[in-house]
Amino acid sequence: MELQWPLILFTTLVAWSAGLFGTQALLAAGGHAKRSQLPAWVASAALLAVGGVAVFFHLEHWERIFNGFGHLSSGITQELVAIVVLAVVAIAYLAAMRRSDDGATAPKWLCWAAVAACAVLVAAMAHSYTMAARPAWDSALWILYVLGNACVLGPCTMALVMAVRGDDLAPAGLPALVGAALAAVTAIAFAAFLQASGGSFAEVGYYFDPTHPTAGMADAASAVAAQAPLLWIGAVAVGGILPLAAALMGRRSGNWKLWGAAAIACALAGAVCLRVVFYELGLSVFMFY
């Protein structure tokens, strides 16, 4: 399938946004990162907004979404619901912070609700791509992988913000490390799944589509082979292993300005690489039309 850049951006930015908001809420639940709460919130909202703008580029008639958007079995609807829920939570969170004495505290239940909403949004968003029609997409590992994106991007971004804002960096270390580890594991797991997906497409042997006389034959196995470098070097090594190493370094050195930024950059690059592979291998089960 052709690369859908608006969706590549959207899913990356939403994971980032939700990861960031979730992390700030998590730290807030422990009473940490006070100085960074507001900027993190703003950054997260901005990421979500940019993601939202990106996704509109994918829609041909966004003006119509008001005439009938809301078919509940649709992943997109579910995603929209999750976004709305998250938005409500985020606004409540902002209101609570603004109303709090230090301007950076939300009730614990709201913090945990925010973490949950973030996780739900990311999962819902990823889930809308798991389609039986596209074997390479049809796996819970993809959902975990996108959650993994959030887990690495959120804490590392939070750590960076905290470093900039001069918060105590100690509480940021563990989430970043754990998040990066989760991200690396899910990246490897999903990459392994993609690598193996070549076998799950319908095979018809030699075939010919008269309308594409100058195209080669669709061949999932060779498509997978062709994507292997991007997948393993780009998505796994750069997007999974390097951020983990950076998180380790960050935690050890405490230099989150450097290592946080490095982790984010690598994780983003990896996330985009994987999404490219995701679309390249996003062939329908019957890939011959």
């Binding site: 008639h61 958007f69 075939y207 008269p210």
Partner: protein, 205 residues
Amino acid sequence: MTQYAIVTDLDRCVGCLACSVACKVVNGVPTGSFWNKTLRIGPNPKEGGSGQWPDVELYFLNVGCQHCAEPECVKVCPTEASHIAADGTVQIDKSKCIGCQFCAMACPYGVRYLNEDEGVVEKCTLCEQKIAQGELPQCVSQCCGMARWFGDAEGDVREFRGPRGETAGEFLEEFSDEQVHKLPDVGNKPSFAYILRDMKWQGGE
């Protein structure tokens, strides 16, 4: 319930492409896009043969929307633009479609595409304007192999109607239920079917 569908006798399909043009003639499909395509499957080495030419077999497979009973495209559509009509066919209400193309991604056969001019997704309508009048879909009425038959998949395939008033049961050579195949089903329950008697059906069910 009704579930209108087409069954194609692959032992009669000769890959003549009359179905593809027929669709264009009545449905205003944009140049370069197709609501049905006839793929050539093979020639492939025959199972149990020498493994090479001339022990090969070949058939032609007309693929388009299969008007699934549990269509993935409908499930994922956020606007209900894609829907199941009363006659069991899967239709797109273009005025509701936002062009998100999730339906196109969710279709296991890749038969949907974005009409660039209108910004909406399209696919075979099973000639709804014709079948509503009791007529046959154009790709059925103009099929040069008399391979295509139209009817209600809830009922008996042998009752499906062909271009000259015959039924599939009267006109086609005998076939057994095992010789009736479907495109790979990932839970969407395609209602179109294909009769292939003595060759290997490629691509799984």
